[in-house]
């Protein structure tokens, strides 16, 4: 009490405000943090590397029960990833990555460090990709008899990208360029399909130029600006939209130059007609 009575009024108010901010910070019913959400490492063949992922439970009152497991992943047409059981893709991390503990409770307002160890065998090349999931599920007693209830699981992922140092091969091919028909608002899409023939993830990106028949540049658009990837041995279609606006009917060209991480660039050009 002596401390408070001695404080000046504005400082006391600031202290109350800060306290309120802090309590708001912790007020959510459930809050979990995974740090880091991405582990990118280069490992020599025959070597190992390790580290920690910290799982934090911000709930001040309740512990959370966490299960840890690895999934493989693939790209979906919408650009997000789908998750497959470990060991089901050629680029799986399952046989290179050990992680533990795999099941634990995180007490209220505490954190647990989960250790991972990557062992890269000798004689292997390229990259491996996957995700370690940290999943929280409610106890089954949460189901209430006679009620129509859905239990909720929550999982956060930490993406793993492991590259065998000095063995990367960047090989890519621009398989197709196509221009779609304009929609009712006059917006059309330009599609580019890239095949990754290398052994590591490629992130093809670069300018797509629209050129008219007099070779004047009309617009420059960026394809795959977010640098989304193409997994080794797979193809993926990227697209970019353009509003044709006042573009006059006639012959035009699309010119594509993509940087995929290799020594050269991927390039291509096609003509199309606006009616």
């Amino acid at each position: 009490m002596k401390l408070i009575t001695k404080m000046k009024k504005p400082i006391f108010l600031i202290a109350i405000l800060v306290f309120l901010c802090l309590t708001d910070y912790c007020a959510h019913a459930f809050r979990m943090n995974v740090d880091p959400p991405r582990v990118e490492m280069f490992v020599e063949p025959g070597q190992e590397k390790s580290g920690y992922i910290t799982v934090t439970n911000y709930d001040e009152e309740n512990a959370i029960h966490v299960k840890v497991y690895i999934n493989d992943l693939v790209y979906l047409p919408d650009g997000s990833n789908d998750f497959l059981p470990e060991g089901t893709t050629p680029w799986t991390i399952a046989d290179w990555l050990k992680i533990g503990p795999t099941e634990f409770d995180v007490p209220p307002a505490e954190q647990i460090k989960v250790r991972y160890v990557t062992e890269v065998p000798k004689g292997v090349r390229g990259g491996r990709y996957g995700v370690a999931f940290f999943e929280v599920s409610p106890p089954l007693r949460e189901f209430i008899k006679g009620r129509t209830t859905a239990a909720i699981n929550v999982r956060l992922g930490s993406i793993f990208l492991i590259t065998v140092q000095g063995t990367e091969e960047y090989i890519a091919e621009l398989q197709d360029i196509r221009v779609g028909k304009p929609d009712k608002d006059g917006v059309f899409e330009i599609y580019c399909t890239v095949k990754n023939g290398g052994n590591v993830l490629a992130r093809p990106n670069g300018p797509v130029k629209l050129i008219d028949s007099s070779e004047a540049e009309i617009a420059e658009l960026m394809l795959n600006e977010s640098k989304s990837g193409v997994l080794p041995g797979t193809s993926r279609q990227f697209s970019v939209k353009y509003d044709k606006g006042e573009l006059a009917p006639g012959e035009y060209f699309v010119q594509v130059v993509l940087d995929y991480g290799g020594e050269d660039f991927l390039g291509g050009q096609i003509g199309f007609t606006i009616e």
Binding site: A15, Y58, E142, T148, T149, A150, I152, N153, V154, G229
Partner: protein
Amino acid sequence: MNPVRFLIVFLLIVLIIPKEVFATFDMSIEGNYKTIDFGAMELGEEKKLVERGGYEHQFNFTSDNGRTWYFKAQILRPFTSMTYTIPPENFQWIVEELINGQGILSASVSKPAPFSKTPVLIYTSAGTDEAGTEVQIRLKYRLKIPENQTAGAYTAHIRFIMVEEL
């Protein structure tokens, strides 16, 4: 030490140091985060859960890792009672509101979308979503019991996912 100075130093330590140490990639749920409870329902009944005034759950996402992340939902087990199952498409999520997000919702606001056994994209981040700004997504849920469904105590299991893109 002067008590006021002590308080200021203490608050600086509490407020600044933890924020410098930890990377943020977190998800929180406001509302009943353990279950979605439709209560007792009749055959043929359709119910929409909006317990918190227009929505059932508020999902909060914060990431400062500078990478695209997404929010997905998946049904692990549809509403089942013994061997009887309510078709998964009868259980739907609806975005009521997106707050602070600069990214893309996969379904328009107020447009119902069914849960699916494969993870369904709800939101893809962009811009300040990846630089520490908290994104809030408010969801409500709808369930329709078919007229010819066998009576029973039906339970389901769903999963919400937050993960960065590869």
